[in-house]
């Protein structure tokens, strides 16, 4: 495998890590007004992701940074073409990030309601936006010979990329419900589990529809295989949830998104940003990649850095492995 291809795989892996990890913490945010009946329950929900959401978000930063370093033309073309969706994602992430920190800092219902709303909106927009951006890179854009977008600011917003947006958001909310079932106790946990059971079949509709579009347009035999694995995992996740095995259900949902990522990036291969205007303008792995020297340097960094990240982030999840319930939430304390 050439270094260029290896980096394509690494970047796909970072995006998968992002969709998997922040996917569930987005889901928790989306469900905040649905499952959290009072402030204590909402605090339980926020605290299930409290210690980890920030680390999860770094997967996005690293996915972006790695694209910049390994495939500058991909990073530049995609990020400038999908300008407005990306801007919305950034604004949402800004609001959401401070909202977790700030919502408990003043003891007032109005204050908390405001930040809860920011968390909720800030948890819907990024998966929609990231879904749209990833769908854009997989399905292509009207690009000229320099790799710049031709057409209006809304060129990236089409029915097929919107389907991708809905698919990622639908997955995230389900993943969040399963995570809450795994991490909470008592009444809240029961409701989260019931909701996950109901959400899963509905959420799979846009996911399957989007993956079918991708598979139909550019898929290969092995992406079809990944698609199949994804579908089976979704069924397993549902059955495991019904059998009261939250952890296994959550893991099975992880397989669903992993399969989806293989379908998406596998169909994209060997391109990184197809041009719908003229295939000669399509950005390929080969054409968008940095020099072999830069890729070698980055490979060394990744070989040592990435496993370390997996180890210490894994440890974090272990340290905070306990379920939490309303009885664990301390009294509100703000000066």
């Amino acid at each position: 495998m050439s270094l260029e291809i290896a980096w394509f795989v690494v970047i796909a892996f970072f995006w998968l890590g992002y969709l998997f990890l922040e996917g569930f913490d987005f889901g928790v945010g989306m469900l905040l007004p649905v499952l959290g009946r009072d402030n204590t329950e909402r605090r339980v929900m926020v605290n299930t992701i409290g210690p980890v959401w920030d680390g999860n978000e770094v997967w996005l930063i690293v996915a972006g940074g790695a694209m910049f370093a390994a495939f500058p033309a991909w990073y530049a073309g995609l990020f400038s073409a999908a300008y407005l969706p990306l801007l919305l994602v950034l604004l949402a992430l800004i609001g959401r990030g401070v909202a977790f920190e700030y919502r408990g800092k003043v003891d007032s219902d109005r204050w908390r309601r405001t930040w809860d709303r920011v968390i909720m909106i800030g948890s819907w927009i990024p998966p929609l936006g990231v879904g749209l951006i990833l769908a854009t890179t997989v399905l292509g854009l009207p690009l000229d010979a320099e790799g710049n977008r031709v057409g209006s600011a809304f060129a990236a917003i089409r029915w097929d990329t919107l389907l991708g947006a809905v698919a990622i958001a639908a997955f995230s909310i389900t993943h969040g419900a399963a995570f809450l079932a795994l991490k909470t106790s008592g009444d809240l946990r029961e409701r989260a589990r019931t909701l996950a059971l109901r959400l899963l079949p509905i959420a799979m509709v846009p996911v399957v529809a989007f993956l079918s579009v991708v598979q139909w347009r550019a898929g290969t035999l092995w992406t079809l295989l990944a698609f199949g694995i994804s579908a089976v995992a979704a069924v397993v996740a549902w059955l495991r949830l019904r059998a009261d095995r939250d952890g296994q259900a959550f893991a099975a949902l992880g397989v669903v998104i992993a399969g989806a990522a293989v379908v998406m990036f596998g169909s994209l291969f060997p391109n990184v940003l197809p041009s719908t205007l003229d295939t000669a303008n399509t950005l390929t792995i080969e054409g968008a990649a940095s020099s072999p020297y830069t890729l070698t340097v980055m490979t060394w960094v990744a070989v040592f850095g990435a496993p370390a990240v997996l180890i210490y982030q894994g440890w974090t999840y272990w340290v905070f492995r306990k379920r939490i319930g309303t009885q664990h939430i301390p009294a509100v304390h703000a000066p």
């Binding site: 605090r43 605290n47 409290g50 210690p51 980890v52 959401w53 920030d54 680390g55 978000e57 770094v58 930063i61 690293v62 940074g65 910049f68 370093a69 390994a70 500058p72 033309a73 990073y75 530049a76 990020f79 400038s80 300008y83 407005l84 990306l86 801007l87 950034l90 604004l91 992430l93 800004i94 990030g97 401070v98 700030y102 919502r103 408990g104 800092k105 003043v106 710049n148 977008r149 600011a153 106790s185 020099s291 020297y293 830069t294 340097v297 980055m298 990435a306 990240v309 210490y312 982030q313 974090t316 340290v319 905070f320 492995r321 664990h328 939430i329 301390p330 304390h333 703000a334 000066p335």
Partner: protein, 491 residues
Amino acid sequence: MEVLELARWQFGITTVYHFLMVPLTIGLSILVAAMQTRWVRTGELRHLKMTKFWGKLLLVNFAMGVVTGIVQEFQFGMNWSAYSRFVGDVFGAPLAMEGLVAFFVESTFLGLWIFGWDRLPKKVHLACAWAFSLATMASAYFILAANSWMQHPVGVTFENGKPTMNSIWAVLTNNTALAAIPHTLAGAFSVAAAFLVGVAGWHLWRRGDHADVWRSSLRLGGWVGVAAFAVLAITGDTQGKLMFEQQPMKMASAEALCHTEQPASFSIIAIGDVAGSNCEDVKTFNVPALLSFLAHNDFKTEVKGVEDLITEYQAKYGTNYPDDPALGSLAGKPIDYVPNLPVTYWGFRMMIGFGAVSAGIGVLALWLTRRGRVPGSRWFPWLVLGGVATPFLGNSAGWIFTEMGRQPFVVVPNPTGVDGVWMFTAQAVSRLTTGEVWTSLIALTTVYAALGVVELYLMRKYVRGGVDAVMPPKKPDDSDKPGEDTLAFAY
């Protein structure tokens, strides 16, 4: 306005704003880790109280630093895609390293530190504080290495119309970066120090509870501030000397030095318009020969002035922009090699001035609180609280000077480097509609302004709230079973 100007305004606003949060996070996280270390070593409750109080303020601030940092990374691709394509091979690497090696550590271990009080053994928990705070410094290192490459590109060859990296080592040990890093970190410590002096000084003056906490915090802040200023002065001098070699136009502009002088005098302050067409009209108060010394370490050498440098730059990099429609209204126009003179001239002076004032306030606060004294004067709280703003202003002025001083280049040509490795800012911008960039400029500015108000409100509230009654944390409970106790910390 054109996309270029809008994108520049956006970069300026988001960068200066981001850099209001970052230095406080860096400086405060190290100081908080040091406070916690003293508590673990001595077991004195005072240090735990300090850790908790300053830690809380650190978190309020940290959130803003993180979220505004994502904008920084993404706007290269969004607004500056031509730049990103041109420099990606070398500039992307330190940026990606920052994420992979530093930022992951920072965010993960911060989570462990915040929520880990009752889950981790004392020493492991302390190690998390250090991992987090050292990673903030590592972050700064990689980002400054990337920025320094724009100021002074090294470690590259020029192939197929693009810089191609041939030594990551050269990029990471760029002398420009090695000088910028201690300077910027010292700037961060002076921010944290002034913050400690201001907040603790005010509480001490009010003579409320926990005087021991406030006294220790103030003294710590005072000493750190003075030490930081010493480092700032020394590294600033090193940076200046490098800049005379690497970006002579930036330094000539910082001095409003029109004509080459030998020996050159240092301008302390100017009266009149430094950007006026006739430099002779400007009266500046000068120290003879000092500029020669600052530039080259002796009192005699020649220092080149703006006028002579323009001729040099024109000979090397052309007199007109290429006639490329991508350059908008600048296509084919003459290149203005002189950065915005008032901004560079006054930015440079404000950086040094505010830094010095901040250190002065630190010294004064140390003197007034010597041997257990409690300052009683009416002006004392105004002085120390006002002092909190000074290093922020100094830092911002420093960055504005650094970034605007390198215009019209986004990648400044390295005088001893490879031909072709430089780029005009006008060539760097994305092909976007003005509507898109207006939207993002307005949206980001509005959100930043609103959140700035919220942060200040919360900071004030928590500063006034003072120190909580603090109990040492319970023995960590590392079992799998959900306990019945409430969490030591919860959002």
